[in-house]
Amino acid sequence: MRLIMNRVFIVFSTFAALVGLIFLGWILFTLFSKGLQGLSFDVFTKDLIEGGLRNVIVGQIMMSGIATLIGIPVGILAGIYLQEYGANSRSTEFLRDLSDVMMSAPSIVVGTFVYAIIVVPTGHTSGWAGVLALFILMVPIIVRTTDDMLNLVPIELREAGIAIGASKYHVTMNIVVRYAKAGILTGILLAFARVVGETAPLIYTSGSSEFWSTDLTGTFPSLTVSIYNLATMPDDQMVQLGWTGAFLLTTMVLIINLLGRYASNKKRSK
């Protein structure tokens, strides 16, 4: 009886795993077959208005990139503060918890917040509003990974640094952060991958535009929002373009994830 139950259990787990993987495989298969169908040179050279995706891809990367550039120093500094300066006080624990809560906050709520503080007063959607929304989503992720990675740095290393007369600042920047560099880089890449695929917080902050634009003060082209719009259009050609966009987006996210993985593996093998 025990052995029969054991067999049943193993079969069930394997079956559950298989079911899950089949669905996930189905999604990827769809994505690749539909996405590759519409892939052509035009997608990268024409803007959305002419049936390409150039402007929205550039727009998406620009917004995510700028959010990342601002988010990196803020997130890393905050992580350093939590781990190196505020060690174990109650307020540090509180900030750490808040950061975790923020990391899991629904992204649409962040969009709502930005809408209220930027779009309502200025009266129109803008690239900067999108950047701010993505920035807010990103910072807690960087804070968390920096915090975790610095936590892995052996305490002896800090003590050794202090023992040879280095200041706290020097120990932190030149020893601790350097030691944790690869892990932090991975965290940044993963955070970038996470925000570059965000749709919900952009829908009414950046909006989306069919035209080429690098002016962040106006409505800004966004790949994800465009995918959302294209996919719900009655025109088959538009839907196809949506799939192509979805394929490109996923490929981009997966590549960045693999890069992040590679960065942290390289460190481990050292």
Partner: protein, 332 residues
Amino acid sequence: MELFFRKIAQLSASLVFVILAATTIVLYLSAKPAIEEFGVKFLFESRWGEEEKVELSPTELSDLESLEADKGAPINDDFIEDDDDFIMDDEDFITDDDMEFGDNKSRVVYGALVPIVGTVFSTLIAMLFSVPIAMGIAVFLSEIAPGALAKPVGIAIELLASIPSIIYGMWGLFYFGPFIAGLFGGNTVSLLVAGLVLGIMVIPFMAALSRDAITTVPDMLKESAYAMGATKLEVIKDVVFPYARSGIIGSIILSFGRALGETMAVAFVIGGVYQFAGKVTDPTNSIPVVLANSFAESSGLSLSVLFYLALILFVLSFIVIASAKVYFLRKK
């Protein structure tokens, strides 16, 4: 330099708090007109954007009645003695009231009950579907599959967890929805489809986190259970799950929170209509989807209502995450 660095780091850390506080305050302020207009009843009202004549609800009515009765009782004994009279008076009263308020006779009513119910049910369906499968995957990867299979599949699961949710939504709309409709009948967009797509979306996330929790169980502990003559099922049930319990429950709660606030995976497939799903195969609505679809055409009170909804969602997810944190903290 030292001090400056310390200050600027502290400032960055505080920014997290500032943003969170600002979000709460701004949402509250923007929602204030709606909160004042509808109060807590907003949570239990199922109509959305319908005009209604201003009538006093039965409770208000009876409040006024008793008020009237209290006032009337000592002065006019006839009032209580004569039932017919009482009713007549009552009707008179309403007419009086209508005339008094003149122009304000109709207003637009908003209520959050439909999207709240939709959010809760789609999330529950998602959890019912994803928990057993994600646990199956986690156990399979950590205890059953040989290493040569577990590693690539594990990496694939982690990569799938990073796929943007909009992809799941799109796939749901064009492929999975019709598939489910073919299987169970009903619409290609429905509560059921939304719940299942949400479930599929959180499976990799939950499975990866649970697997991480399970792999923290020391090999030696498992071996010592096997050395007592336990089978694999018994080792997992009696040793692995109890040992990794807080991590596994934490992963489930985090996935729950993610499903609760998810917009894009649901927006395509839930239907976006303000009605309860009588059957699970009927379309309905959820809070994030209402938010995603309605901002453009809203202003004034209807906009404030959306902020009220966002505030509700924010508080809900806050509670979920906070409870996950409590569980994670217990471990330490």
